[in-house]
Amino acid sequence: MSTLALDVDDLHLTFPARGGDVHALRGASLKIEAGEIVGLVGESGSGKSVLGLAALGLLPKGTKPRATGKVLLGGEDMLTADESSSRARRGSYITAVFQDPMGSLNPSMRIGAQLAEAAGRSVAPAKDQLATMLAATGIADPEVKLRCYPHELSGGLRQRVMIAMALARDPRLVVADEPTTALDVTVQAKVLDLLAGAARERGTALLLVTHDLGVAARICDRIAVAYAGRIVETGTKSQILIAPRHPYTTGLLASRPRLDGAVAGGELPTLEGQPPDPRRPASGCAFKVRCPVADSACDQPPPVQIIGGRRCECHRPGSLAGWPAASSAAHAETGRLVAELARHQGDRVSVPDPALVLANIRREYPRPKRHPFAAAPEPLTAVNGVSLTIRQGGSLAIVGESGSGKTTLLRMAVGLLEPTEGTVTVGPGAGPQLIFQDAGASLTPWLPIGRQIAERLEALGVARGERAGRVLATLRAVGLPAEAAGALPRQLSGGMRQRAAIARAIAVPPALLACDEPVSALDVSLASQVLNLLCELRRKLGIALLFVTHDLAVARAVADEVAVMSNGEIVEHGPTAEVFADPAHGYTRELLAAVPEVAAAA
């Protein structure tokens, strides 16, 4: 009997679907030793979550997946196990923590009852035992929390409850699928540390599935990189982070914005292209079309190379020292097209007026009265006396956690919301535009992209005959093919949708482009492309950027000024480099410390 907690060997998983089978996994192999913490990192569609589900024996039955290979949990194959034995394994041998704790908890049951159920012993554990389990995940007042319902707890606390439930029966392996993605950055750091600490204390192995190398770097012993349904590289954390051998890993690492990167440079290296369509898997190496060192050998399936416990599937492992900088041909092409767009629209009048002035603005939300005759309760103050100025072509990032009022501030800046007090003044020219976090939701689902861009041109009085040409020029400038004009939003990928939203906003360059977490829903490689594009647009078209983000590394990559927001107020404001080098406010320091950084971990 081996000491492996999980042994996935040559796992192929195919989901039959109309329009071609989806090859979710194409021979993935991953071993996890007992008590080991392994990060499984990859972009969306890489198959990382499906691998976790396969280990749990939770593959969606309705989709009738075809599976070959082995998924061994302590000697038993979860692929061939029947329902009752795989259920028996879940809970005692393997448990899970998912991204959305609200969806995993029963809303009509108290925490204590759910925890007792998860503990699954024949006799329900005593109250104080349950309280000890909660306390072990760092929950204060565990006795009180046991009597709470899930909606009475914050997101971070719910996720801690999920962790307590996952660990309740001392399993040998916990699969955590994006456990902290929905949490604020400071809470994220605490929950990750706690998860790792609890696993180590009990000797439980942990499979951490995440899209964020920084998250994996924070707590993992080993990191596995998934690409197009295979595990392309596995190694210890420092091997992967310092000396990656697979070009994909190199690219992933390079395209991440860093806390010590260039300020507002917009020169992030990018992984151009997209992962292959899982319906049409590439022959040979799946990464060859995006790989800077690919040659004719890469048309063959890559050999598996194992050196000292390090596994890499590549024809030319280790041959790429660093990812080429973004000033490649593609980048220059974008620059040229944006410049063309600028010419097309005539030179912007350069006036000294700032792009945005917020003068002591305040926004209150009334709270409902308890009963019709009650005195009006104190209103909720979302933004409390904020003053900011962005010069023409300037760039300001507002960072802060959810509930800090940053989105309310942004909506007031673009005019979607009236301030209760204070004034908002925007610069001359086309009205301010907003890029939303969820680009898909910001595009009208039943109107073709081109129409939506043309609508804005029409509203600004562009002659009918000119509109089509302008739409196409704008699409080219943001790196979309002309065919995108006729496509509906759902026919585009997430990254393309965000570009389409940007295209609409810049079809007539506004004085101010406000961005609400524009890359937080995108994969790293796409995020760096979009960030570069925004910086490029700012430089070439003189658009001022107001950028809201929770990610300090992203803020550094785009903004020359940073304002830190907490409880509706700006607690620190200054040039990006200064704020990062010498944070004056305690909250800023806390935020900085919480950023999952690759460099610090390696």
Partner: protein, 296 residues
């Protein structure tokens, strides 16, 4: 893609980018295929029912030579009634009338309801308040009482029954459209359209209302069966077209006294009502499935 195969990509795209004049805004975009797939059975049944009276062997009011209370036979497939009219022919006409009446009430109800619901949902504030209270008011009116009042004032007629039903039917559509439009108005795409400078009327017509089509069509198609039953019910208690007209509910109620002796007289129209309602519900369920799949 349009059928233009020559010309540059740009000119082909131009065709799609610029608003086509005569296009129904409500059908813009990719809804059409799903809508068609959901609704063709309605069109088919309507077409069949419209031409069905061609099969009638006798006129609606014609008293046949064979006399009253004839058993069903080859010449009179469903027999003859108390004054010797061919029941089969009358049922065919009655089915057509029931079906078309139901469609008329739905068409009126959904049009008025969509207008009021869209205004209330998109404008919000006091407009919403006033329109929705009016809606509630109409919803509180009992169709039967309105029909009785109208008929007492102006005499029995099919039109009056339809008016009475329409008056109480549209508020449901207003509520559905309002809820849908309100939810859509709070979505980022509505904010984005506002920021793009889209006018208020266009915002409602092109960015909000099309999102309400699917739920409205589902409700419409499920409503056909309800309306057929409601109409039959009103005409059964005498609140429909006056006696000689071939109305299924009225025929059934007038024939009721002969139920034991000459069962076919009341039963044939009753079965026709059941068939129509069943068909309508099957079509409605199908539309529901088709359009629900698409929206998820």
């Amino acid at each position: 893609m349009s059928t233009v195969t020559t010309g540059s990509l740009e000119s082909r795209l131009r065709l799609r980018l610029l608003p086509r004049r005569r296009e129904l805004p409500a059908l813009a975009g990719g809804n059409r295929a799903a809508l068609f797939s959901a609704l063709w059975p309605v069109a088919l049944v309507t077409a069949i029912l419209v031409v069905l009276p061609l099969l009638a062997t006798h006129g609606v009011q014609e008293v046949v030579a064979a006399g009253p209370f004839r058993k069903p036979s080859l010449n009179y497939p469903l027999g003859t009634d108390d004054i010797g009219r061919d029941v089969f022919s009358r049922v065919l006409y009655g089915m057509r009338e029931s079906w078309l009446s139901a469609l008329a009430v739905i068409a009126f109800g959904s049009a008025l309801g969509a207008l009021i619901g869209a205004l209330a949902g998109a404008l919000g504030g006091w407009v919403d308040m006033v329109l929705m209270r009016i809606t509630d008011l109409f919803l509180a009116l009992p169709a039967t009482v309105i029909a009785i009042a109208l008929i007492a004032a102006t005499g029995p007629s099919l039109i009056h029954t339809l008016i009475a039903l329409s008056v109480v039917w549209w508020p449901w559509y207003a509520r559905i459209v309002r809820a849908e439009v309100r939810a859509l108005a709070a979505r980022p795409h509505a904010d984005a359209a506002r920021l793009a400078g889209v006018s208020r009327s266009r915002l409602i017509l092109r960015h909000l209302l099309p999102g309400a089509i699917a739920p409205v069509v589902v409700t419409m198609s499920l409503d056909v069966g309800n309306l057929i039953l409601a109409l039959a019910g009103l005409s059964f208690i005498g609140l429909g077209a006056p006696p000689p007209s071939p109305e299924l509910g009225a025929m059934s109620s007038q024939g009721l006294e002969y139920l034991l002796a000459y069962g076919w007289v009341p039963i044939a129209p009753a079965v026709a009502i059941a068939v129509l309602a069943l068909m309508a519900n099957l079509i409605g369920d199908r539309a529901n499935r088709r359009l629900d799949q698409r929206t998820t």
